[in-house]
């Protein structure tokens, strides 16, 4: 057999293969949506971006994780004291932790929502998205999935740290603690989902209409806290016969009311509760806000494209 002509060039290396045709698999719409999710995650967390882009999200993440670590540390210190001290009344546990970091989480959602939508729109990148096998609905579904994953991670990862920390420090033992608190496994995610539905839907809605990330973030916080103030004023002053219904404007309060319902707690002093509404009404408001937001965001993007 003749010697292969390649053998005389064994030491040769290819420095540049140049532009080539592609004959491999193509992943279609699903692959495109997965790419949008991955890139959205990177954008929110500032990954593969300049250092200054990482500062704000990672500061908030550090606050959330740090507070969980501090609570576990307090539990550890109190458990090593010679006297028995019940820290559950002094420091927040699972349900209370939601209150503990709700403002930080609100800031994170107000930052993440605009980051996901605004630059694509203002920098013209939608032209690239929609010239690929990706429709408006695919794009929005992928962005919403990214937003949900980021925000739910923000709520849940510190809770998982808390849970594992408390379990490790439990006098009953790690496994006994986990076995005795299985209800936490659905209650915490359910409450986190309610918070996401309210914060997230509002953040997406505002981010769809405002063309500056900072202004959108400020707008989200202002709307949530401002409506609280409006509802409170109406309730305190009692100007009109329909004042009771204005308490439902306190959007920021509804997730807390529903969370208390999920954890079977005595209702905290929320504006809707003071007006005589039950948690079911708050849940309906949360669902209603999410539905209205989905419809308006979809309408906005159909018009844009």
């Amino acid at each position: 057999m003749a010697e292969s002509p390649v053998s005389s060039h064994d030491s040769a290396i290819i420095l540049d293969r140049g532009y080539r045709s592609y004959h491999g698999p193509r992943t279609g719409r699903r692959g495109a949506m997965a790419a949008v999710v991955k890139e959205g995650y990177r954008r929110v967390l500032g990954l593969r971006r300049k250092a200054k882009r990482k500062l704000f999200p990672w500061t908030l993440i550090a606050l959330a994780l740090g507070s969980a670590a501090v609570l576990v540390a307090i539990e550890w210190v109190s458990s090593s004291l010679p006297i028995s001290l019940d820290t559950s009344d002094l420091f927040p546990r699972y349900s209370g932790y939601f209150d503990f970091i709700s403002n930080v989480a609100l800031l994170f959602a107000a930052f993440a929502g605009p980051q996901l939508l605004v630059p694509d729109r203002t920098q013209g990148v939608l032209n690239v998205y929609f010239s690929r096998p990706l429709g408006v609905r695919d794009y929005l579904v992928a962005k919403a999935a990214t937003f949900a994953a980021v925000i739910l991670s923000f709520w849940l990862v510190p809770q998982i740290l808390l849970h594992l920390g408390y379990a490790a420090l439990s006098p009953a033992g790690f496994l006994s603690y986990l076995g005795g608190t299985t209800d936490i496994l659905w209650k915490v995610p359910a409450a986190a989902l309610v918070y996401f539905a309210m914060h997230g839907s509002l953040a997406f809605l505002v981010a769809s209409f405002v063309n500056r990330v900072g202004a959108a973030a400020a707008g989200i916080v202002a709307v949530l806290l401002g409506l609280n103030l409006v509802a409170l004023l109406f309730q305190e002053v009692g100007l009109a016969p329909g004042t009771k219904w204005t308490s439902l404007l306190a959007l920021e309060q509804h997730p807390r009311f529903v969370r208390d319902w999920i954890f079977d707690l005595e209702a905290s002093i929320t504006i809707p509760a003071q007006a005589g509404f039950g948690p079911e009404a708050s849940l309906m408001v949360v669902i209603g806000c999410a539905v209205v937001s989905v419809l308006l965001v979809g309408w906005r993007y159909r018009r844009l494209t």
Binding site: G18, T27, G31, G124, N127, V128, P133, L134
Partner: protein
């Protein structure tokens, strides 16, 4: 032809085909009755602002639906499988389309993934494509730090990174200095070697002349001309501008078996004989046409465009 199956096309089958294509935006008529067949190769899409170039490109991508008529790419109606077609089409928008906080390599790889290329291959292809457009050294720099020319090249890279069969370039040389324009056109010219077909929209007619094989002219939403830029053949191309109606001359030339194109009052005859002037002279005598100017076909594309526009506007 417009209903033919994808992938089973003759080499000369049109890449783009439209039939009686209309697009209205409210009272505004963007395209009116465009019948078009664009062959493989590099095609220039010429027209003034508002001629309907971008609307045609958006219709080809399936981003907007025609008011009436049909549009097909690779023989497949766009309305049947717009997403599937877009996986094999590249698009370079005229305006901004770059996320300024990403590196060139990250963005071009992302653009490849959006077109369905798996992530590892997308990164490899992004590197190769940025090398092709002359940005290999700068690929890890942030797009916000790029000059206009470099950004145009990144836009071009994202449009071809997924190995499309058709690339739609909307004013690719806009905003570039003369040297940058030449480099951009040189890269586009290299696409032929990769088996890509290009539809290249521009209002700079010199760019079209320099790069394209075929030209499509639009004016006010109407098709003025869809023809080869350099008519093929071994013979001589002779242009005659007549004072009156060119049709008698066209008929006389056609009767002599000469291939003829005309725009306005300018008739171009593709003679296969050694001296095309003799045949044209005889045809002129037979038709009784009065000659205003005559010569070898050295008219610029601008002359053709202006003549066609004038003719179209009466």
């Amino acid at each position: 032809m417009i209903d033919g199956p994808t992938g089973q096309r003759h080499a000369d089958s049109p890449i783009i085909e439209t039939r009686d294509l209309h697009k209205h935006f409210g009272q505004v008529r963007a395209l009116a009755g465009v019948d078009l067949k664009v062959p493989p190769g590099i095609t220039g899409l010429v027209g003034a602002n508002g001629a309907g170039k971008t609307t045609l490109i958006r219709l080809l991508l399936g981003l907007t639906a025609p008011t009436s008529g049909e549009v097909a790419v690779f023989g497949t109606p766009v309305s049947r499988d717009a997403a599937g077609l877009r996986a094999r089409i590249g698009y370079m928008p005229e305006g901004r389309c770059l996320p300024l906080d990403q590196t060139a390599a990250d963005f071009v790889a992302y653009a490849a993934e959006l077109a369905g290329i798996p992530p590892a291959e997308a990164r490899r292809r992004a590197s190769e494509t940025l090398f092709l457009v002359g940005l290999h050294e700068e690929r890890f720099r942030y797009l916000g730090d790029f000059s206009t020319g470099m950004q145009q090249r990144v836009k071009l890279a994202q449009s071809i990174v997924h190995d499309p069969r058709l690339v739609l370039l909307d004013e690719p040389a806009s905003g570039l200095d003369p040297a940058g324009r030449d480099q951009m056109l040189e890269v586009i010219d290299r696409f032929r070697g990769f088996g890509m077909n290009v539809l290249f929209s521009s209002h700079l007619l010199e760019d079209i002349e320099q790069t394209c094989d075929w030209v499509v002219m639009l004016d006010g939403g109407r098709l003025l001309r869809s023809a080869p830029l350099d008519p093929p053949g071994d013979g001589t191309a002779v242009s005659v501008e007549v004072f009156d109606d060119p049709l008698p001359l066209v008929a006389a030339l056609t009767a002599r078996g000469i291939e003829v194109t005309y725009a306005g009052r300018v008739v171009t005859a593709m003679s296969s004989s050694e001296d095309g002037f003799v045949e044209v002279r005889d045809a002129l005598a037979a038709s009784g046409s009065s000659v205003r100017a005559m010569g070898t076909d050295l008219r610029s594309l601008e002359d053709v465009f202006m003549a066609a526009t004038k003719e179209s506007n009466g």
